[in-house]
Subunit: 324 residues, 2 copies
Amino acid sequence: MGEFDLIKRYFVRDPALGVSSDAVALGIGDDCAVLNPTPGMQWLVSCDMLVEGRHFLSTVAPERLAHKALAVNLSDLAACGATPRAFTLALALPRADAVWLAGFAKGLFALADAHGIALVGGDTTQGPLNICVTVMGEVPRGQALLRSGARVGDDIYVSGTVGDARLALEVFRGTAVLAGEAFEQARRAMECPQPRVGLGQALRGLATSAIDVSDGLIGDLGHILQRSSVGACLAVDALPRSAVLASQSLALQRECGLAGGDDYELIFTAPVVAREAVRQASLNCATPITRIGHIEAEPGLRLADAQGQALVAEFSSFDHFKTS
Amino acid sequence: MGEFDLIKRYFVRDPALGVSSDAVALGIGDDCAVLNPTPGMQWLVSCDMLVEGRHFLSTVAPERLAHKALAVNLSDLAACGATPRAFTLALALPRADAVWLAGFAKGLFALADAHGIALVGGDTTQGPLNICVTVMGEVPRGQALLRSGARVGDDIYVSGTVGDARLALEVFRGTAVLAGEAFEQARRAMECPQPRVGLGQALRGLATSAIDVSDGLIGDLGHILQRSSVGACLAVDALPRSAVLASQSLALQRECGLAGGDDYELIFTAPVVAREAVRQASLNCATPITRIGHIEAEPGLRLADAQGQALVAEFSSFDHFKTS
């Protein structure tokens, strides 16, 4: 199977399938895709590269790997409140394996269709497994949710639950034990994150800042604090956890929840006066949210336990080039 | 050096440097870049992934590698007649080597600045060396040059010269010999292709179809023929060659020129009545072009030598998953 056959067989779709979008004037098959930006909208772009052993284990099913590669990018659009429009996929493969490719395409298009986003181009080459997705989306001019808008007194929220992906990783590492459905649930969180695209859009005009949790809640909240020139106090034991994680030791719960990463939930801030509107936004898109702290003027992040006592803790976010 | 330090040190620029573009509302540093499409323009996107050993040799200098990674993407914009606006860079690196990164950033921004295109986002991770660039550009609505517009009777042109990149590869493979400046010139063609961005834009409204030569002239012209449902006759020995390639055997000249690839010149078609306008466009952007054949109704590609005699030849374009 040649490169062009491979692309045609797995990645160029029957026009009757998938999304039909005014955003795409010309998709796969020329030197560039041709897109139609919506008048009055800004165009948002993000890009993530996934490498075996760093971002996923070799045990992952191709459907889930494709899902995750697109999901982590959709999560960046979600964090900015954008509506997904189009994406490109660059794929380096050790070999053209038909079963693997069919599974990969299935997982990719299932998530793409769920979000109405079209694959418009990309590249396929031979090499160590590497998956690079670039997503594009739109927001009304000036309405992108950024990291820089948090204000003193704002509430801090997080969507869904955090920590399960890290818990699954600990099981794979052999430092935690989960059986049966509990393991499957944690593993699903790691391999099949659900990008909070609907919530991000619902928060336009309400949230003052937002980011998605990819490297760990503390580190990612830290980006908001830094860019907004503020500090925060976080109620550590208020972090929303799954029943599976809640059954683990408190130390592991905190480690996974605060520093786990790979959650792809949204952390966002909003003024206290917007609480009811935020609650309604969450209900409207059927995405649970939890209030976990508030923004303060004093720089830095303070952690408090369930009794309001200060916690001194060392949690480090994931860093791909950290040597220690 | 951590991931964020690395990005900050090498890829986030002093605002006083580089391009200042209305197209970029927000660059590196948030979940997404925020771009401002120009009203009335379409948005063009292309993506290429470069893998060591497939697209470049381990001997290449990092400046040239970065140049090439961006150049091959700019070449796709050129082939569509687009004005470059922004790009993302995803980089998997075995290790964070300061000298390598400084060279890479230097080569990258030199070419980016020359084309007024801003780096707006990306990703950096540890892994086998892999470089994935996604470029975005603009054309006035409906004016993108596509592969599908060639018409019977159109002239076929190619820009610059073809075959030098392949000749350099043959030298690295040990199947050809070049010395001194001749080798340097061929090597520069392979490692530092110059995307024909100015020519592409000058051909808007003149060329009926266009493509860039990445996999080899015959194969890439073949895409135009297929998408335009036409055939062509090519004057093989009219192919523009450098003096270095012209000093090789006729067989090697033909092999490199017709099937070499990695040229990043533009092949395009235009009506006979537009010859003078095409000549002016070429002069205006100081990019030489050569008329090398014409479009015919009969499907397929016919090759003729300098005496007009038909050549039967087997040239195969590069295919990353071809087994034979």
